[in-house]
Amino acid sequence: MKKSIKKFAAALMAAAALILPFQGIACSAENSDTELVVGFDAEFPPYGYKDDNGEYVGFDLDLAQEVCNRNGWTLKKQPIEWNSKDMELNSGSIDCIWNGFTMNGRESEYTWSTPYVDNSQVVIVRSDSGIEELSDMSGKIVAVQSDSSALAALEGEDASEENKALRETFAELQQVGDYNSAFLNLESGAVDAICMDIGVAGYEIKSRGDGYVMLEERLSSEEYGIGFRLGNTELRDEVQTALLEMLADGTFDEIAAKWGLEDSVCLSADDQYADEEADGSADSVSGSSKEEKSFWEKAADISKQLSKGLLASLSIFLLTLLFSLPLGLLITAGRMCRIKPVQWLAKLYISIVRGTPLMLQLLVVFFGPHFLFGVSTSPSYRFYAVIIGFSLNYAAYFAEIYRSGIQAVPKGQYEASAVLGYSRAQTFFKIVFPQMVKNIIPSVTNEFITLVKDTSLAFAVSYTEMFTIAKQVAAAQTTIMPLFIAGVFYYIFNFLVAFIMERIEKKMNYYR
């Protein structure tokens, strides 16, 4: 059963190229003796991140560089989308994940180096929050990075009973894409606390100044290792050997000191590899409960999880239309207004909205109130921000569609209305508007379909709609199936939209 799933997953790898951002599938396995492609989350200081000069730097990248130097390899630093790390690794577009990568709970999923950093999960709060110990977090909204070790520590399969109980006291556990947005959320008041790795926490607090404190109490302890594709022991051994050399001659500790991690590192020549240690147990685990499920059962499970996200996507879709369709009409009115300044304002609005990415607009709507006006945002604002952002954006597009639809109504219609004595409002609503609606249905259908797909952009403000869930499930289960099923869901969604619009178009064909 396991094999057939693997085969299926492998077959879908090709499809991944279509679904995922293209990450240069140049197969690095062939030239692995000359190039080491290290995958890392570029927003995870001090292990790997973009510095002020735009260079990728960090403790792990320095280690990787040194290992490459010693083996005569060139290092390629490949920033990856964290949720897609397994697809990156399995497809061969990266050789290893080397990025403060927690081993605990993932022992059997990768071929690991020995642990080199001992890390704990800690809690960060605003200094003025009044939260002093873990028990104070009851009823609070807590952020974690999706698929992070903090998330695993709180509600993963291997989470301790203590941590699971703690998580139960939270009002909500909000998953965010990266730590930067976690801190933006914390500062703006959208969340009350962040759980994260101690090494990262120390760095973040140091670089972000006084506003934050770390609770004394810790969640759990865990270790970092370098993750290689399952079975790629050859490469692992080469890297491990170089690391141990560096440990012996002091280079390793030097690099650790450079990044302020001298208290966290734990590399030791005596450690055994995790896969050898855990061989028996890992197999028995995968042989029993986990892999028991058939392909269809798995698909059904995933669909169930996705359907929650589908509901979220659907509500974004419907609410956006509810607000943007009338708002667009208002903007068209401004755009076609005879008062010049009103016209310019509408024009400027349309040009800005169409000229900037929707994702950026969502970020501005969500974080803007706090960072521009100092208003602290309530957690429920996240969903409102998504709807506001989408509505403002789509209204601009609809406005232009309306305008072209109105301009396509012949001048004679206005003249006939004027001679018959219709008022301006009557002329618009009785004569022009219905004809405009018929004119624009094909373009509007296009926008609807684009909107269905655009709902996935809500991830920018960490609103969990279907695609976000698909990526999370894909990351957690290390298969591409959730993405594929999400694709099917989007297709069905759009198929229905197209079907309904076609019916409406036919209905409007009672006249020509």
């Binding site: 006939a416 001679v419 009785k430 006249y511």
Partner: protein, 254 residues
């Protein structure tokens, strides 16, 4: 009292002066045909009369009510309310009908009387059906304009204008968009209206029709009225060179 009194109106589009100091009086039940080469300003004149264009100078009165008066050589339009009242005294029939495509033929006819003139709907409906019968479209009320021939559409448009109970009707080349065989059915309708003493100003290229139906023929060229009088005088014995040239050309075409 004259139903329509136009005094010294002028109209320019940018630098192009299209109407130059035109005056015309139309008395009750009079049928006036306007002839003239294309580009001479006939449509612009009718559009000014229908208040689709604003004039640059002069005055216009309908049934003794001044819609535009002249003050120091500048035109002054009456207030909104008065203009609305005046609007109801005339109707305009377009060259290309301009029926509302999303309304049935019947709704095209009853909608404005009900929603603009606020008349009783059932009364209007009865009248609308009578009008359709009169136009020979009794069975087409539920059709949409695209389902009708050009001649039928123009008859529906005339019915739409008549439903407003106007005192006078303006026609801008009502047959120019139609095939010759369809032209005849429209001219027949116009003749019937003339027999019923409808006051009409008709821009047309149908010389024979103008001769037989008009009380007065007006010949326009270059934005001015070159010559006017009875059909006999203007069509059969034109005095002005430009009228003669125009008529010769028209007759050569026929």
């Amino acid at each position: 009292m004259n139903l329509l009194e136009v005094k010294n109106i002028s109209k320019s589009f940018g630098d192009l002066q299209v109407l130059k100091d035109i005056s015309l009086s139309v008395s009750e039940s009079e049928v006036i045909s306007i002839l003239g080469p294309s580009g001479s300003g006939k449509s612009t004149f009718l559009r000014c009369l229908s208040m689709l264009e604003q004039i640059d100078g002069g005055s216009i009165s309908y049934c003794g009510e001044e819609a535009v008066s002249s003050a120091n050589g500048y035109p002054v339009y009456a207030g909104k309310k008065k203009l609305r009242e005046i609007q109801g005294t005339f109707g305009l029939v377009f060259q290309n009908f301009n029926l509302f495509p999303h309304y049935s033929v019947l709704k095209n006819i009853w909608d404005a009387p009900v929603h603009v003139q606020k008349r009783n709907k059932s009364e209007v409906m009865t009248e609308a059906k009578e009008l359709l019968d009169k136009m020979g479209l009794g069975d087409k009320g539920d059709y949409y304009p695209y389902q009708l021939s050009g001649g039928q559409q123009q008859r529906a448009a005339i019915a739409r204008a008549l439903a407003m109970k106007p005192k006078m009707l303006f026609f801008d080349e009502p047959t120019s968009a139609l095939d010759p065989e369809l032209t005849a059915e429209i001219l027949k309708v116009l003749k019937e209206l003339a027999a019923e003493k409808m006051t009409m100003v008709i821009v047309t290229h149908e010389i024979e029709f103008a001769r037989s139906v008009s009380d007065r023929v007006v010949f326009m060229d270059g934005g001015v009225i070159v010559e006017q009088g009875s059909p006999k005088d203007v069509i059969d014995n034109p005095k002005n060179e430009r009228t003669k040239t125009f008529l010769r050309k028209m007759q050569a075409e026929e």
